[in-house]
């Protein structure tokens, strides 16, 4: 059988499997609002996906993954898309952060122990990185882990821990040698949050959300076998994850910073449009098709123009990496620019909406207006989380431009 036939068979088999296993209520999601799925549907679909490893489709089968090739993965995404559903979600921090780390740095036992539980959705993970005194200067973290028999005993606290209040386990940076230079005394360890000594307090943000928590540890135990990589060599893993996070943040910002697949392709024949400008139309009015406020119109144009340039730069960077050309532009640049763009977009929206953007909740404002106002406040954090803009500028100056220390 040639490769094409194999893939075609894969697709056919997959279609049948989807037809048999994906609950009807979870398909054609847009058209399906009346027939809203029940809890059992979600559970059944998760179980089905997990059974084939489709929640982590490219992970090796021996660790619970789907073991799919790149081509098979594409087919999976296409078919999933075709029937209007999504792969059942499991722990984001598990699939995107911890899994790749374990694959690269974990022991065989760790992979066997932890990865299948990510795939099955059994365990939700969170990431213990920042501390109250260690933000931009992450490596100055002070949470201590001391070996005691077969355990590490952990004391200290973490802050900005996304979703800690819904998580089961944490992967965590701890200080295991307080006397070593600060980058050389850090370890990467995993432990269960459901144990005495763990206190989790959600942090209320200025935008009214509380996705982040502060987590306190008082004599919390982690088994020594859950140390990932060498003792005191956790900074290497931390850096790898930071890089990874930066790339995700730069590609995943709302509001146009992410290049739409359609737009970035060539030969685009549909008329270009600006969602920002269209949303501004009812507020600003128009004359001859032009927004009635020339100053805001100019600023919207500048935003869209920069957004376009940003999308193209992401695209070019990918192509350059593939072509093995040059250093390309660093992920720091994209993280920096995506955050700043998103903040700029939100400020523009606030200018456009005028007093309609001053609502907090309740009547008198559309849901869209309330959403944008909260989003404006939330956007201020973009240039702080995942490494501040200042840190990104430092990294660019040093790594990309080679400026002296």
């Amino acid at each position: 059988m040639d490769e094409e036939t194999i893939l075609e068979n894969f697709r056919n088999e997959l279609r049948n499997w989807l037809e048999a296993n994906c609950p009807k209520a979870l398909r054609d999601s847009a058209a399906n609002t009346k027939n809203s799925p029940r809890q059992e549907d979600h559970a059944a679909w998760l179980k089905a996906c997990a059974s084939r490893g489709y929640t982590t489709p490219t992970w090796p089968k021996e660790y619970g993954g789907g073991g799919l090739s790149k081509e098979e993965h594409s087919i999976l995404l296409e078919e999933i898309d075709r029937i209007g559903t999504h792969i059942a979600p499991v722990s984001f921090f598990g699939t995107s952060m911890l899994g790749p780390v374990l694959l690269e740095f974990g022991s065989e036992a760790q992979k066997k122990e932890h990865m299948p539980k990510i795939t099955s959705g059994e365990i939700q993970w969170c990431q213990g990185y920042s501390e109250p005194g260690a933000g931009s200067d992450l490596a100055s973290l002070q949470t201590r882990a001391v070996r005691q028999g077969n355990d590490f005993i952990i004391n200290g606290s973490k802050i900005w821990t996304t979703g800690a209040h819904h998580a089961d386990w944490m992967f965590c940076l701890v200080r295991t040698d307080p006397n070593a230079p600060k980058h050389d005394g850090i370890s990467f360890i995993l432990f269960d949050l459901h144990q005495p000594g763990v206190t989790i307090s959600p942090l209320m943000l200025i935008s009214g959300q509380s996705d982040f928590c502060q987590v306190f540890f008082e004599d919390v135990k982690a088994k020594a076998e859950n140390l990932v990589g060498e003792l005191n060599a956790g900074w290497t893993i931390a850096k790898r994850l930071l890089q990874h996070e930066r790339s995700m943040l730069s590609g995943g910002m709302p509001g146009g910073a992410r290049p739409s697949k359609k737009e970035s392709g060539s030969q685009k024949a549909t008329a270009p449009r600006s969602y920002l400008a269209e949303s501004a139309r009812p507020y600003l009015g128009e004359e001859g098709g032009q927004l009635n406020d020339p100053i805001l119109r100019d600023q919207i144009a500048q935003y869209e123009l920069d957004s376009l340039c940003f999308g193209l730069s992401l695209q070019r960077s990918g192509q350059e990496a593939k072509a093995g050309q040059g250093p390309g532009a660093a992920s720091s640049m994209f993280k920096l620019y995506a955050s700043e763009m998103n903040k700029r977009r939100s400020e523009l929206v606030m200018s456009i909406q005028g007093a309609s953007g001053l609502g907090w909740e309740g009547e008198g404002f559309t849901p869209g207006e309330l959403f944008e106002t909260r989003g404006w406040l939330r956007s201020k954090g973009n240039s702080i989380e995942g490494g501040t803009s200042e840190v990104q500028l430092n990294v660019i100056a040093k790594r990309v431009l080679g400026l002296p220390d």
Binding site: S130, P132, G133, A134, G135, S136, D137, S140, I159, W160, L203, M204, L205, I206, S207, G208, Y283, L284, D293, I295, L296, K343, M350, S351, Q353, G354, A355, S356, G357, L358, G359, W360, E361, G362, E363, G364, F365, T373, L377, K380, G381, S383, I384, E385, T388, S389, E390, L393
Partner: protein, 379 residues
């Protein structure tokens, strides 16, 4: 004209700083917000402010006022900006007091002004209908009837309307929305049949409401000033309130700049105070210049009104534009320099940012006022 405070103004500033930081520190606003207080401030404290002569600061002595000027009002609002004191200075002490003092007849004056001076009357002025400020875009109508007018239409973003004792409503009695002529002001009791006041939850947690007028019958004595010439009064009301907002925005800028400076001097990262980083130093120095420039124009605009100077609209617009831009920038930088902690509700930066945005947008943002500045300057 002097751009430094006189001895009396200094004294006022001191008293205001002490009183407000003691009785309405920022925790006061938080408490009002967190308890969802229906009017968002303490009427008792407002009466205490009245005793200090603040509520009637712009009113003549004959109505219990302290007969001071905008320069003094600016001092108060600067201090309010520093602690985000949510008191009805703009609605009552500035807009309401100005509308009645300038436009009211003797009866209206004696009915309303002493109550403002004593802190017993809260007056809300209902002018805005559209999200983007346009001074004369008024469609709420007052059509003549037998013995008065019938008011219908709606207003939004009316400051301190919840729990207000009186409403002043700008309504159209002729012409089209946008026309300067044809607007009339009416003094209306909020309890009148057909008036529905709905509180709106605002980002700055201030008292604000939508008001619907469903064929509200008012008698002809409710008219404030001349029929169709309400814009004359409204312009004075806008002018004073715009400048007062600039003073408040300046107070916010100053407070938040000082707090950030303090943070730069105490927060450590990478084994050193973050205030040693040159990039942050330069940004802080740059902000300092903006705050200083804002201070100057705010002082000048306040005094220009007191002195009744010609072309002072130019100074008023310059003050509002500069103060809006400075506050917005200082808040943004403050949040960024504070890092993650600034994003938490627990730290106050967000509260300042929210109030600054509301004040920035009120009565025209910086772009609106640059346009007006250019118009007055003749280009």
């Amino acid at each position: 004209m002097s751009l430094v405070l006189s001895e009396e103004q200094h004294l006022l500033k001191q008293t205001a700083a002490e009183f407000i930081s003691e009785h309405s520190p920022i925790t006061h606003l938080r408490a009002m917000r967190d308890t969802a207080d229906p009017i968002g401030f303490s009427k008792d404290l407002w009466k205490e402010m009245a005793e200090l002569g603040w509520t009637g600061i712009l009113l003549p002595e004959q109505y219990g006022g302290s007969e001071l000027g905008m320069a003094e009002l600016g001092v108060l609002l600067e201090e309010c900006g520093r602690t985000l004191a949510p008191y009805p200075f703009l609605s009552t002490a500035v807009m309401g007091a100005t509308a009645i003092a300038l436009g009211g007849n003797e009866k209206q004056k004696s009915n309303i002004l002493p109550g403002i001076s004593s802190g017993e009357q809260i007056v809300a002025v209902a002018f805005q209908e559209n999200p983007r400020f346009a001074p004369y875009a008024i469609s709420t109508s007052a059509r003549p009837s037998d013995d008065g007018f019938i008011l219908s239409g709606q207003k939004a973003w009316v400051w301190d309307a919840c729990g207000a004792d009186q409403l002043i409503v700008a309504a159209r009695t002729s012409g089209e929305p946008g026309d300067r002529r044809g607007i009339s002001l009416f003094l209306v009791e909020p309890s009148c049949q057909g008036i529905a006041i709905t509180k709106t939850q605002m980002v700055d947690s201030r008292n604000s409401a939508r008001i619907e007028f469903d064929d509200v019958i008012i008698n002809s004595e409710a008219l404030v000033g001349e029929l169709n010439e309400g814009a004359e009064i409204l312009d004075a009301v806008y002018e004073r309130c715009t400048t007062a907002l600039a003073a408040e925005l300046f107070g916010i800028s100053q407070e938040i700049f000082e707090r950030t400076l303090e943070y730069l001097k105490t927060r450590e990262q990478f084994g050193t105070l973050i205030g040693t980083f040159q990039a942050l130093k330069h940004r802080a120095a740059d902000l300092f210049c903006e705050v200083e420039l804002t201070h100057s124009i705010v002082l000048e605009a306040l005094r220009a009104i007191d002195e009744d100077r010609p072309y002072r609209e130019r100074l008023v617009s310059a003050a509002k534009a500069r103060a809006s831009d400075t506050a917005s920038r200082v808040c943004r930088e403050a949040l960024q320099m504070h890092g993650g902690i600034g994003m938490t509700d627990e730290v106050d930066i967000g509260l300042f940012m929210k109030r600054a945005k509301a004040a920035e947008i009120a009565l025209g943002d910086s772009s609106f006022h640059r346009n007006r500045f250019a118009e007055v300057t003749g280009f």
